[in-house]
Symmetry: D3
Subunit: 245 residues, 6 copies
Amino acid sequence: MDLRAATWTDVRDLETNLAVVPVGSTEQHGPHAPLGTDVLTAEAVADAALERTDREVVRAPAIPVGVAEEHRQFPGTMWVSPETFRRYVRESVESLAHHGFDRVVIVNGHGGNVDALREVGGRLTRSGEAYAVPFTWFEAVGDHGADMGHGGPLETSLLWHCAPDLVDEDGLEAASEGAADGWGEWTSGANLAYDSAEFSENGVVGDPTDGDERRGTELLELASDALGRLLEAVAERDVTRPEPR
Amino acid sequence: MDLRAATWTDVRDLETNLAVVPVGSTEQHGPHAPLGTDVLTAEAVADAALERTDREVVRAPAIPVGVAEEHRQFPGTMWVSPETFRRYVRESVESLAHHGFDRVVIVNGHGGNVDALREVGGRLTRSGEAYAVPFTWFEAVGDHGADMGHGGPLETSLLWHCAPDLVDEDGLEAASEGAADGWGEWTSGANLAYDSAEFSENGVVGDPTDGDERRGTELLELASDALGRLLEAVAERDVTRPEPR
Amino acid sequence: MDLRAATWTDVRDLETNLAVVPVGSTEQHGPHAPLGTDVLTAEAVADAALERTDREVVRAPAIPVGVAEEHRQFPGTMWVSPETFRRYVRESVESLAHHGFDRVVIVNGHGGNVDALREVGGRLTRSGEAYAVPFTWFEAVGDHGADMGHGGPLETSLLWHCAPDLVDEDGLEAASEGAADGWGEWTSGANLAYDSAEFSENGVVGDPTDGDERRGTELLELASDALGRLLEAVAERDVTRPEPR
Amino acid sequence: MDLRAATWTDVRDLETNLAVVPVGSTEQHGPHAPLGTDVLTAEAVADAALERTDREVVRAPAIPVGVAEEHRQFPGTMWVSPETFRRYVRESVESLAHHGFDRVVIVNGHGGNVDALREVGGRLTRSGEAYAVPFTWFEAVGDHGADMGHGGPLETSLLWHCAPDLVDEDGLEAASEGAADGWGEWTSGANLAYDSAEFSENGVVGDPTDGDERRGTELLELASDALGRLLEAVAERDVTRPEPR
Amino acid sequence: MDLRAATWTDVRDLETNLAVVPVGSTEQHGPHAPLGTDVLTAEAVADAALERTDREVVRAPAIPVGVAEEHRQFPGTMWVSPETFRRYVRESVESLAHHGFDRVVIVNGHGGNVDALREVGGRLTRSGEAYAVPFTWFEAVGDHGADMGHGGPLETSLLWHCAPDLVDEDGLEAASEGAADGWGEWTSGANLAYDSAEFSENGVVGDPTDGDERRGTELLELASDALGRLLEAVAERDVTRPEPR
Amino acid sequence: MDLRAATWTDVRDLETNLAVVPVGSTEQHGPHAPLGTDVLTAEAVADAALERTDREVVRAPAIPVGVAEEHRQFPGTMWVSPETFRRYVRESVESLAHHGFDRVVIVNGHGGNVDALREVGGRLTRSGEAYAVPFTWFEAVGDHGADMGHGGPLETSLLWHCAPDLVDEDGLEAASEGAADGWGEWTSGANLAYDSAEFSENGVVGDPTDGDERRGTELLELASDALGRLLEAVAERDVTRPEPR
């Protein structure tokens, strides 16, 4: 049930403790893909999964600004500090838990949010306020995952499928040509770079022309299936904390 | 220019320092209106104003969860603490200002956010990071303002106009019957109540059946006109801080 | 019972849960009125109300520095950040509640404190630590309220009554001549100004020569009566939080 | 110049960078002395020193609630956390420094504030915002200092001199009989006690009947002389930070 | 140069801007390995690298308590919150940078610290206070990395080499038998577990008997070589932040 | 039992609630003594006391960086803010208390930590999380205490005894010649100085050549005896908080 469109009386009548909170970022995705990519894709995956499941699940509005200072050299990129992001997500989840929706999957579309969400999930879960697990869709698409990049084949494919009007075809060629091969600059297992502009001229990592609508369809199916399985697991899990040894 | 749909190269090519950030809340609006009312209406007003203006204005994604603990007794209401809300809005605006969009109108659809947004605007403006002014649409609709309430005639009218499918007609009668006459319980100029459930059985203040689509059309026109004028004023204002006396 | 003058054994013997905490500001009030105006008036109103009531009420010392950065261009104005002010007031009230004085009226003399005090009251009340309600005296003086201003007729009148030595008669003429007509600079329901120096040359809003000692006497009577009624209401109110709907 | 009684135009005309901020506590002082003792005495010492000095000195209002949780078992004791106290004092001083009053002596009447004030002074001074030095009057009264206690001979003497009406003569005998000999319970240089109720039945340390009005007169003279010398030293000191070695 | 053993005059005479800060954790490592494993190993790797390099490098004392609440069910495990850990590490590095040691490798021995250290490094680097890069030794040992676990073959091997007395041989068999195969409980790319006690009976992941002294020797060589290369890269890197696009 | 060297199974088998946490600083100690002096001495005293006591006591790793900004003009000095130090120590102690080691002596070797540790102890104790008492070794060595200084006779003596290789004999003469007589610059009981470089050219206070190995032996004996007595007192103390009066 989409909270944005439901009345409180609708919500009152639900019999579930499951919720999803889509979380993205508003940040550069190259000269061809919109700044809203990470929100759009997170919402697409969340909604597709909810369509497929028989369980009742509360669907919160998407949180649109995340941990993205790493893209600040690219115009239009928005961000908040990790600490503020953690607070905003955590308290949003706590308000859901207040109504009994205390098993929550945070459906994430942005790599830069991953660490912060894991920390939030741990704090909520250990305190007993909610059992909250982050799910990042591109970590759940099997072998495709290796091609992730940034504004690369995976995200561009999913956009072709979900929001084709938002892919700037004129920008694609430039995106492909200027794309970096990989994320970061690595020495001895350490990433020497903190800003994407250190290693990518146009903000893209991975060749977006390796994606197409068909791949997007498959990615959505894989990701939403995975999220469906996760919702089952979260619903059924014994979340009592272990006894001291 | 809607950041969600634009590429960073689109944003780079803009020549403006103006931005709007819609801000709402996901909270009960009675048995007839959706929890997303305050976001929907803030976005509707912002978008209508941007359509009418000749200026280039950056349009940020809407911030969906605000200061709404006062409605926590009603299922589905989400909220964050005022401090977290202030941080999230302030840092979001700072990230826009980083790119030169440092004259910002925060377009607000929720009464509970008003104090926090004023504080954020003051801090941003005095520090020189951005000139930020909050605008709450129902404070700019002339005589209509007196009917504001909560889930009452104004918000319901605007929904009839902008998102008629989200008004639950079955709930309207109950909404009307159970509505409180006014917001709060007052003695000596002080509101004794902190939670809306202290004075409203069903969360509604003001009779929503006093609204209709036509009134919604007028409200949108009034509010978006007002926002247009405010954008002009914000664009033209001398924002240097006064000299010490 | 005035805590400043009482011993702990005096306090121990009280049978009440009511307290008042005067809160003001040390800030410019024009060339004719003292920086301490908001503390003086808050204390005057609080003390007058306590004289009139039969109830036992604990009277805390006044908190002298508030949210007043808006006057920082005027020499001598002191302020703390809103967050620090909220913490200081909240924890002061919590310490009273620790001893059982957990129904508290915060008697305020400064407009800039209003939002912060409402937030503090909400937090204390919802957490169950104390039931705390802010009362701002010039919001409880009937039709006089429309003349409020800053260093204007109301405050000046009350000073004529309570502390006539502190009104600088030589400054009155200048105050009157340089006074602004209203607080702020408004467009579309939004205040474009954040500092009082943006719209008032000498820091005054409203003509202080419209006040006199007689008006001050009446204001004190009105305000202290109102506070007396509020204390009754606070003492008698059922403060259990509403049940979830 | 007492800020509470001055207009901003008075303050503007000052030619000084010196200020004092009295700081106390509202806390139990035995069955004979008022909860306001530490504020009263800090103000008395500050005002006496200002009377004797030829320098212009800004005199801020007294901060009435300090770090006093150690007395929380005694009714009426108020306190804030050390962190909140530090913030409130620091920002108050910063607001004075904003106007050029950036050499500040914090005149303290409460032992529990000492550590916090030293930390505040260090932070302000090292950041260059203000040169702020705390002065605790009973640390500057020569051999009398050894008798300090709490509600004991020194504070009681000073009250006899400054506010004799506030000494409860009926409570004196009980105060004397129940007084502890020393502050704390010590083993190996460590104080095992955190609350004064652990070692004092009635909250008193030191026999208050060892004090009288004459001793109070002498104490005020000693303390205000000492404060006068400190103001000289603070005014004349080179406060540039040392160069790195 | 080891700061613990150097005088400030020694440090003054250094000509370098490079520093290392070892960071570990005091937490359970199974029934056979000491709680100090992560500090010991981080220090061993740091010291071995410093021995091999020709560059002058400041060596800070090791920070012994990290982000380890995930092991709290096992007696003796110490931890601080991620936020406190980030503050402690960040400010420690800032103090080094104050003296000009502003290229810093944080040598880490604990997986639970990784996310926090990356956040700290980003903040320090983007603010320009220091260029700080975390290095986690077991991410830089080539193919061995796949065997990492917790108290498993890698850490146990390194202990056999660096601190053989601290491996409890009696506990090894139990460690081996009760060890979990992998870290966490995974569904759809999400780890459902937050505490190690959810998936490991005795706290061990990976079979420690797959390690021996020879492997430890090799690990130390691999890790310290890698750290040496990283120090070169950090010393030589252009750390000016990229220009806005 | 030293946590660094113990397994969790060792710790599980303990029957005690006593722990010690050594706390020091990494800061200049003159041209003759190492930056690590305060950690070394704190650990030496803690370990000597644990050797002498029959009680089982958990021994945490030493916290190496403390409140030492006062020495920042001297190269190599590390520090964190008082607030961060308090958080780090407090949460470290809380993690010990989580396992039942909730009577804790914080063994301190640095004067600059004293105020912060007292605040931490108060907060932990009043909240009931742990009974924590700081012990600063040089406050428990009888008449020697008067000679304390900084890098002076006491610390140097203890180093001669515990870590003679770390005393730089070549630096001793310079240390002696450039040493200040006392800590700070005092007027009217107030210390006008905030940085040690304001009153000591080489960072030393007190003549280190007044110390020798024999005095070090005696100091260690005195301090560890005192700590042993304190451990007894902490173990036996009734730590229930007093009843309200």
